[in-house]
Amino acid sequence: MAKGKILVVGGGIAGLTAAEKLARAGVAVALAEKSPYLGGRVARLHRYYPRMCPPRCGLEVLIKSLSRFSHAEIHLITEVTGVQRSIPGLYTVTLQKKSTDLNQQAEELVIDAQGIIIAAGADLYNASLIKEYGYGRLPGVITSMEMESLFRPEGPTGGLPVHPVTGGPLRRVAFIQCVGSRNKNHLPYCSGYCCTVTLKQVQYLHQSLKDIRTWIFYQDIRTPGSKEEYYRHVREEYRPVFIRGLPSSVEFKADSNELLLKSEDTLSKKRVTGSFDLVVLATGMVPPALTHFYGIEKDTFGFFSGHTPCEPSELRRSGIWAAGCSQSPMDAGDSVKSALAAVTQCLVKLQQQPSVYPEINTKKCDRCGRCVKECAYGACIMGSDGYPAVDPGDCRSCGICQGGCPLLCINLPGYGGKKIEEIVDRALSESSPGPSILLFLCGNDTYPAWIKLVTQVNGRGLEGIIPCSVPCIGAVNAAWINEALISGLDGVMLAGCHPDQCHHAVGTSLAATRLENLKETLSRMRLEPERVCLTGITIDESAKLLEEIEKFRTLLEKLGPNPFK
């Protein structure tokens, strides 16, 4: 049984999948769900794609399996109230469990977990904000989610596909796509799942009603992969009419109890109009409000999308992963896949051998906390004794902490100060006719490019270059650059990934800031600031690397030898 406990926040299909797989792998799991039932939104669907089976079947299997395990706890009506870290590699989470008995107080829980999976789902966009479609104002205008409930026995019509307000028969139903999505006034992005949902609901209607006709008002039908075959199948079997053009408004005619839609069919460039019994609005998803998780990377729309494509489940806080719609709007199938991805990352973290991680010299450290703030993964935290501490399982060996420490207290074994100093000393003992250049190369992009270059040119054009590889260009401490300059090397060049492509996200931009600060100091000291430079090279840009080196060398020849010689 792997050691450690994982907290899963959210009991929808993603949370249940993650918790159940972890429990099967022998990991202690605690599941916290804020509503009184498990299954989330998927439990309220009538059927799901592609086999059109009732989702409660799949959910039951997960819940039954999860409840079997004694090391799995399920907490309903429970919400996270706080997340603390004082020991590296451990999260202390406080939760509140409300009671169904109005007289009882809410219960406070504290869970210590090695990791947290955020599977809190997403909320649906409020359709009444799209005022022109009259949701909430006109009878017979409903959302896709409400359409699902029309077919459920627990729904407002007892499972009969009749008009939810009048109870009358449904003969003409219109679906409007992209409601509030792909729209700068509402949500600029596409939620991706809604086109298939509408096709599925067209199937529901035609399978249960003989006399029904359906229309879909769309902008684009987005059915990638095997969904395209489903799209063709729905078109052939059920014959909905597709109008390419979103309606300008929905109006209600009280005398005939019909909803009137006006649209422009962009394919024929003709105005079209139609009267319908029911209008279904396909809305998008918005990210959940999770106030207690600080410092977690979100994308521009507020979703926890992670570092795509390399590490999509990770959120740059070691030990916190995202799964399901919290990551990005997705359908049930993709939610399960993303939950399995998060479980894999979780298991790797719990069982992996620690990689190279930094040693912190607490004798020299004065607890300024810069390493904690700059750590790209949240692996370096301020321990309870006030000194920074790193959990070996969390560390990604990028060395950014080492690069930022003003007192050189952090040493990443194999990449630390000792190695650099040896390189500089060796370089000073050998003399070269031209300018001597210390070249820092980041292990992800530029060092492989350098190796390729060296084999290609066989050392020609690279005289005077002293290469030094670091895990990330953010691991280069300014003190080493100073050391090189003071000792008399003519120039220092930092070659890293391009700023928006840095594998560790912040490495190149931190190196750029440190270099800017140094250049300002150098100019005050009357030492040419051009003696240090930063360049961005990708793994296949060996030619550009050579160019940059030659440019730099020419510049240094013009500037003359280092005044410190």
Binding site: R232, F242, R244, K270, R271, V272
Partner: protein, 115 residues
């Protein structure tokens, strides 16, 4: 006055046969048949004809010159990614137009060719 088509009121589709209705249901309006037609002198092209049927307006299709300029080469059918029989629709509409007034008869084609 802007012409408006009522899409929910589609009695006109009753004159069409099952093959045509099937084609109209599956057609995604990608436009490849319209691009392939070598005999097109004036719009609507085959794509637009199918679109009119999809919108429920058969009468409007019966006035299009394509029904008469069509040479039966079936390049439209060959181009279709959904393997729909587009040429069949043009043939059917030509037969249906015999009952319509103001239809382009071949004699009047000369005006188009000279214009």
């Amino acid at each position: 006055m802007v012409q408006v088509i009522n899409i929910t009121d589609s009695k006109e589709l009753r004159v069409l046969d099952p093959v045509t209705l099937n084609t109209a249901a599956i057609c995604e309006q990608c436009g490849k048949c319209g691009a392939a037609c070598p005999a097109l002198i004036k719009q609507p092209n085959p794509t637009a004809l199918i679109r009119l049927i999809q919108l429920g307006s058969v009468t409007e299709t019966l006035h299009s010159p394509l029904l008469w300029t069509c040479i039966g080469c079936e390049q439209c059918t060959a181009a279709c990614p959904q393997k729909l029989d587009v040429a069949h629709i043009v043939r059917l509409l030509r037969r249906l137009s015999a009952g319509e007034k103001d239809v382009c008869f071949p004699g009047i084609m000369v005006d188009f060719l000279l214009a």
